[in-house]
Symmetry: C2
Subunit: 422 residues, 2 copies
């Protein structure tokens, strides 16, 4: 199916707002096996909108239009859609009643100009928006089916998943059940995972499963996308593939689906009745800032210490000054141990990072020393990574949390990762 | 001038990469007074690229093409540009020599397929890329001047500023000097600043200065963009406008141009020979993570403490447990004072945030208590903000740093801001 995405609005066209709606729509389409062929961006301008709709109507089979459904005068999508299709705008009484109700439940009176949001091109099919006042709609213009969606990201996302993808998949031949399974790994590069998973899709019936990757360093997301006629059959067919991915990627799988590194760690600590203290150099509070704000951290996250110098951390943990200037995994273990004593937390994690000299360069990197203290004693992990300062900061923080995850789950903490050099 | 931006590449089309290059190009064009009329996204596909180039050649006067200049087989921009213009590809010997030199200086041999990057459409004007192997080029196709740029963001950004904007401005009538003055404020909403600055552009000759805003909560950026024939004359003409903006926005201006809140604070501390310790609840290390990683923080940032509970912070600062459970500005001052004593830092900043109940809701918010300790004693600031948890976290962290900035610069710390409710 030839699909075009048209994003409208001066804020997007002028670059004032980064167009994340576009990438979300395109990614979701790819995840269910539909490609995008063209992306078009136009402002709130009648002539250009009409021109964009006409071109898309001529070259695409399905068009997703984003934005321009609001109540203000520069929201033009309904008007131009009607003009492009040569039909009138008519009031959709159902949606108008829904909007009045929406305001009533919030104890407010609907402003008069919101009526515009219930004016749809004659013959258009309403696409429900359960969380906003801008309804979507679908209609034929020229040779294409057009789907009009709101610009508010969470409204768009829900309408896309609940209303539009099923319709597109149904139009594409009844294969409207979709299943997306995601694995989050740390420590393996994309090409390596690609190699390691070679052929796994063949454990499901021919053509059912597609594998895709999305790298957001330091993690990599591996996606198994399956589509077919029947959701239950899909789930069953995916079981052996999922199991094989788990077997091959093993301990490098940090989390699955909506889980995260942080949620896995906090979940485990909660089950153990545990708590956590952190100490970091170089990462400068970035590890704490990943854990502390989470709802799941309440009652578990105790305290975090950040400093630029290891000596400062020693003082903060009531440790005696070091006998020599060497920092190693033993130092990290000593700091973790002292931190655990000082704070009374069940677990303490220390991440000490010593970046190379002064400048970012081709071979710039740093040494990473991680210490974990628990009732079972202390363990250490050391590694060296190459890359710029931000790269090192992200990688080291991730390695520290991953070491804690592995320790909590009884997995080996010192398994070599792709990002380290010795 | 009618301008189109064409972004190429499967990674962008499929949404795998968020298209920040597009918004950067569009924003820079707007800052120098040039608008964008169309945005087009196509993949690495010969037919669609050719079609996109042909359409842009017919409807635009200037076209900026991003991506597709790399050495691999799916980099098609030169090939399709030549085809669209009906010319051959020819080796640009100068650029080929530059590439060889680029590799030689890095002690590597240039791979054979990089030669492709020096093959340009006959008659194209080379656009220098001093930091990469993909040269840009400019040429006429149909009725438009096309500018081809690399997909690597920093290479694109430099080429845009140094090579393309001056050419576009020159083509637009010799007004090729541009000046962009930026003010960063905290505490005032966009519409309020818009009102406060009403008419300031009239302090410069008619039409010379345009005011624009870019909100990135919690800060707002106010931009004065001026263009004309002569850079020196522009700078002189802007002086009274800049002075008036400074007068009207006053203490709310946090930084100008490339300065940041962080750099202003660290610069001031460095001049005083000072140092800094931080304590935070709810923001969970986020304040520290803004300061600690900066080069300018070396020797100044001493230590940061993050916890979820005020009681935990008290313990960590060797303060006696509170007599009652009330947290107020006095608590923040006491913690800042104790932290300063414990760490020996010249300045200590404590930011205590008490979020409302359990759920994000329409009226969700939190109380913010800030304490600052220095050799001059301690001061406090309290405020209440509404908004979701992330909103509150960002706003409270900004308010804490802004209070420190104000204190360091001898400005009032308790000036009411737009985001607080009492």
């Amino acid at each position: 199916m030839r699909i075009e995405i048209i994003c409208t609005g001066d804020e997007i066209l002028s670059g004032k707002t980064i167009n994340t709606n576009y990438s979300h729509i395109a990614r979701r389409l790819h995840e269910v096996g539909l490609g995008v062929e063209w992306g078009t961006t136009v402002g709130d301008d009648r002539r250009n909108l009409l021109d964009a709709f006409a071109r898309a109507a001529a070259r695409a089979q399905a068009v997703i239009v984003n934005g321009g459904l609001g109540p203000t005068v520069d929201d033009l999508s309904q008007e131009i859609a009607a003009r492009a299709a040569g039909v009138e705008l008519v009031l959709n009484a159902d949606w108008f009643a829904r909007m009045e109700d929406y305001y009533r439940r919030r104890g407010r009176v609907m402003p008069a100009n919101n009526r515009k949001q219930a004016m749809l091109p004659a013959g258009a099919e309403l696409l429900d928006n359960p969380i906003g006042t801008a309804c979507g709609f679908a209609m034929r213009i020229g040779g294409a089916r057009f789907f009009f969606t709101p610009g508010v990201p969470r409204e768009l996302r829900r309408m896309l998943d609940e209303q539009i993808l099923p319709r597109l998949l149904a139009a594409g031949g009844g294969q409207h059940a979709i299943r997306l399974k995601r694995f989050h790994t740390f420590g393996l590069g994309e090409s390596r995972v690609d190699e390691m998973l070679s052929g796994v899709e063949r454990l499901a019936p021919e053509g059912l499963v597609k594998i895709g990757f999305q790298a957001h360093y330091p993690q990599l997301e591996t996606k198994l996308a399956a589509r077919g006629a029947d959701a239950e059959a899909l789930a069953v067919a995916l079981v052996p593939v999922e199991a094989e991915v788990r077997r091959r990627l093993g301990n490098f799988i940090v989390a699955e689906d909506d889980e995260t590194m942080e949620s896995v760690i906090l979940d485990r600590l909660r089950r153990e009745g545990g708590s956590l203290a952190l100490a970091e150099t170089f990462t400068g509070g970035a590890i704490a800032a990943r854990i502390a704000p989470l709802e799941a951290a309440r009652g578990i996250f105790r305290r975090a210490l950040a400093a630029l110098e290891v000596a400062e951390l020693r003082v903060a943990c009531n440790l005696a000054p070091a006998k020599d200037a060497t920092t190693d995994a033993g130092t990290a273990q000593a700091i973790a141990g002292a931190l655990r004593e000082t704070t009374g937390a069940s677990h303490a994690l220390a991440a000490l990072v010593l970046p190379d000299g002064d400048k970012d360069g081709v071979e710039f990197g740093g040494d990473i020393f991680i210490g974990i203290a628990s009732s079972a004693g202390t363990i250490g992990r050391s590694a060296r990574m190459l890359g710029g300062r931000d790269w090192l900061r992200l990688g080291a923080g991730e390695m520290a949390l991953d070491s804690l995850r592995r320790h909590l789950l009884g997995k080996p903490v010192d398994e070599r990762i792709d990002f380290e050099r010795r």
